[in-house]
């Protein structure tokens, strides 16, 4: 299938991150078009009509999110770009930031224009030092060329972009934790409602969008919502960046329309399984927080609704592939430790539950598991799910529930054998 690369079109070029290369490739044409002949309302409607859904993990319709902003203008509006990409298995935003920051920036400017925002914040995780330098350089170039600052392209529209570095906390990828961090505090998620569109940064109406989400906006503006909606599948429109890593030959970011079959992504883009003698055992389709699919359920399409129907979610599209040499108890222990380290500690179920999971799993992996432990894991996960301030509760509960459910016999084996059949590497660090 001949697929026209959009998001990654410029990324492969030499010096693709510079404004000169970007302009040559058609960068900022959408911005010129919008500022010349579109109202912010019209731009918002176009994004709505395109069916663009958030690329950060929740898949919420972007245009609808923008329309939650109150009509009043007594407080300034803010756009916060969520470049905190920390979901294990996900590295697509990093690629965009490092290789085509101007595409992202153009999307930021267009989106800010649509929502009448005049100060946008680019919240980038602290560990992306290289990406931060590149993006700051891109912002400086944009100011120089008059794409940022006062009276952009003579339109009368002003916009400033401020880059803000995180300092190492996965939870700051959650919208309201991001706002807290941006305000100079511990990244603790807020109680919702009120939602950020009403009470956000500094108490002002705020939209938080993912990097990749915004990178789609220039294309929507340039070629129209109808064209965009023709890519992908109904209600799951547009091009998508898919990450694949783990036991694959060519781990990387692959662009394809939403709805590409997982196995096509695995075998035709990522080169298939890493070791010829170790077939696929399980795959996480969309970042570590999403429920795992055992090999016999991996014939799925990669889009929001198809994966939801399959009992999991597209999430951040950070696909991780595990072959037959993988201990699922060890894999879950690894993730449980991740969530234990990253829990903000604010609310009871997550603060206490994450530690409990790792302790049980550690015993299982080191051969000290008890018969009742797998069921205990499931029950504790049930008690975390739905009871937390933010979706972090689901992010740990779902892996626990799905790994134990899908690989119950493996968990039981750890108990009956009194040891990890795969050698227990995950517990020996």
């Amino acid at each position: 299938m001949a697929y026209e690369k959009l998001l990654l079109k410029n990324a492969g070029r030499e010096n693709s991150h510079t404004i000169d290369v970007s302009l040559k490739a058609g960068g900022y044409e959408a911005l010129k078009k919008a500022l010349k002949g579109m109202t912010p309302e019209a731009l918002l409607e176009e994004v709505k009509a395109s069916g663009l859904r958030g690329r950060g993990g929740a898949g919420f319709p972007t245009g609808m999110k923008w329309s939650f902003l109150p009509k009043t203008r007594d407080k300034p509006r803010y756009l916060c770009v969520n470049a905190d990409e920390s979901e294990p298995g996900t590295f697509k935003d990093r690629l965009l930031i490092e290789r085509d920051p101007h595409l992202v920036l153009e999307g930021i400017i267009l989106s800010s224009f649509a929502i009448d925002c005049h100060t946008a914040f680019f919240y980038i995780r602290g560990e992306f030092q290289k990406g931060c330098r590149i993006f700051e350089q891109a912002v400086a170039e944009a100011y120089q060329k008059g794409f940022l600052g006062k009276n952009i392209l003579g339109s009368g529209y002003d916009l400033d972009v401020l880059v803000y570095r995180g300092a190492g906390a996965y939870i700051c990828g959650e919208e309201t934790a991001l706002l807290e961090s941006l305000e100079g505090k511990r990244g603790l998620p807020r109680i919702k409602p009120p939602f950020p569109a009403i009470v956000g940064l500094y108490g002002c109406p705020t939209i938080i969008n993912n990097v990749e989400t915004l990178a789609n906006v220039p294309f929507i503006v340039e070629r129209g919502a109808a064209w965009f909606a023709g890519i992908g599948r109904p209600k799951n429109t547009g091009p998508k960046l898919f990450c694949l890593s783990g036991h694959v030959k060519k781990p990387g970011v692959f662009e394809a329309p939403l709805g590409i079959p997982f196995l096509e992504l695995l075998n035709e883009h990522a080169g298939g399984m890493l070791h010829p003698d170790r077939p696929l055992k399980a795959a996480v389709p969309g970042g570590s927080s999403m429920k795992i699919l055992p090999a016999n359920r991996c014939e799925v399409l990669l889009d929001f609704d198809s994966l939801a129907a399959a009992g999991t979610m597209l999430g951040s599209a950070g696909g991780m592939v595990m072959d037959s040499g993988t201990c699922m108890v060890g894999a879950l222990l690894n993730l449980a430790e991740f969530y234990e380290h990253e829990s903000c500690g604010q609310c009871t179920p997550c603060r206490e539950g994450t530690g409990w999971f790792t302790k049980i799993l550690h015993r299982l992996e080191t051969g000290h598991g008890r018969k009742e432990d797998p069921d205990l894991l499931i029950d504790v996960a049930r008690r975390v799910e739905g009871n937390t301030i933010c979706p972090f509760g689901e992010a740990i509960a779902w892996p626990v529930q799905s790994y134990v459910a899908e690989f119950k016999s493996e968990f039981d084996d750890h108990v009956t054998k009194g040891a990890c059949p795969f050698g227990g590497a995950a517990a020996k660090r």
Binding site: I191, C344, G355, R383, I389
Partner: protein
Amino acid sequence: MPEPTPPAPPAPAAATAAPPPELPATGPDEVALLIDDKPVVVKKGTTVLQAAERLGIVVPHYCYHPGLSVAGNCRMCFVEIEKMPKLQIGCATPATQGMVVRTANTRVKSARESIMEFLLINHPLDCPICDQAGECRLQQYAAAYGRGESRFVEEKIHNDKGVPIGPRVVFDGERCIKCTRCIRFCDEVSKTHELGLFERGGHAIIGTFPGKSLDNNYSGNTVDICPVGALTWKPFRFRARVWFLRNVPSVCIGCARGCNVELGTFDHRIRRITPRNNPEVNGWWMCDLGRQTYEPLDGRPRLEQPAARGAIAAGPPGGAAAPAIPVTAGVTPGEALDRAAALLRETAARHGAASLAAIVSARLTLEDLFMARKALQQAGIGRVVVPPHESGEDDPLLLRRDRTPNARGAEIVGLGRPDAAATARLAADVKAGTVKGLVVVGEDPAGDGLLEAPSLSALEALVVIDAWRTPTAAAAHVALPATGPYEADGVAVNFQGRAQLARRGVPAPGLAEPSWRWLRELGRRFGLAGSWNTASAVFDEAAAAHPPLASLSHRKLGANGHPIVFAEAAPGGGAPAPGTEAREP
């Protein structure tokens, strides 16, 4: 007999089988909702938890406190709300018109059980050695909502215990459930910001900046609001089990605010003082100084028996050790009083009525002060001064510069307000020798540096009514033992003009009596008529005599007191105390 036709119910919002119970009518700023099938009307903005409280429905919670901002982190106050798929926390959910809430169905009970389990897995089994036992929310809720047994077989997370986080507060890091009430108190109420939340996840812990201390005059409130035994009050630590305490509602005597308090007594001694809620006076709080106002009862030397002596002899005023009072063997209260009256009469006869004066304390109750005025009038003593006792400035929260609880009471009964100038003039006159006889009630002019030894010993009549064995009492011709703080019922009028009834918490030692009794008896010896046998009766007499007190009585004052009406507007009267307003949800 057929039922009368009920009025047509309002059209139900959704097509359900049975129409919901009819909601009451509401005003423009109100909403009506159903909680466990019971209707309630509340002001807009009220949370579901608060609305449930109105109905007497308990929604268990840790981190919510009406005097602090909403945190929503403990997750204990889950309720089920129709049309909302997930359970909602009642403390943060505004009640809306027509809301249907369930607080005790299976789903909610299961959630509570889950939260209890999570809270207990890393909690140390310290109950046998923890002060909080008996007033601990973990204990209460574990019994009411918990599983009943533990499934946790892992090693618990360990933290430092017994940390002296402040001069009067001890912190246990393992017991802490990270509700953050203490941090919010220090940020929002005392505004001293000593506490923070450190680390994250399971290792999150509260504490002070290294090297700094939780050292403000309101630190005790963090102990009150800590739902568990993570913060304990050092003076009370290991002193008594709370279920043995006999709790008496009273009023603090430390300053002119008169925070409403609860005296925790055991074995006839006060073991701790904690605040009682009064939105008009102190909200939920009190200061640390107030918490310590009972401590003199534990060791400061007392007058316990009436004492009288023949000749005038000098005692060393202001001595460090308890001054001794030479006692004429076997003097009864009657004999002491007779002697006092006689001395005063003789002095007046020798030098004129104007040679007598009195120093009366604004620390006394209204009953004491009323009787003082009557008795002194009867004895022909017209010159009465009330010494001021001030320290620092009014602080932004509760503590008043005026450290007497009843300055306004002195004013009401006609003794005048504390007056430094008048006090100084009297001291000068005593020194000069123009004042020869003094009645001192509840004051220690020698110990306070107002009068010196030679002046005191030059007096021909010094009658002292006091609780403490002070230098002034040591120099007295007649010393009559009075009750000390919290040892007698009595009313004080605070700086807002609010009359409040303090109840007696512990018995006074020896033959100590409330000052008003001594004054009544002294007055009798000058012809005072009337027999008031209780403080309440004295108050009723005072109320009859002084219009601002009219219509009040001990009974009417109850637990939270009552404002009185002055001729001119009372300063600060009526407005609730700062930091005590219930927070907007």
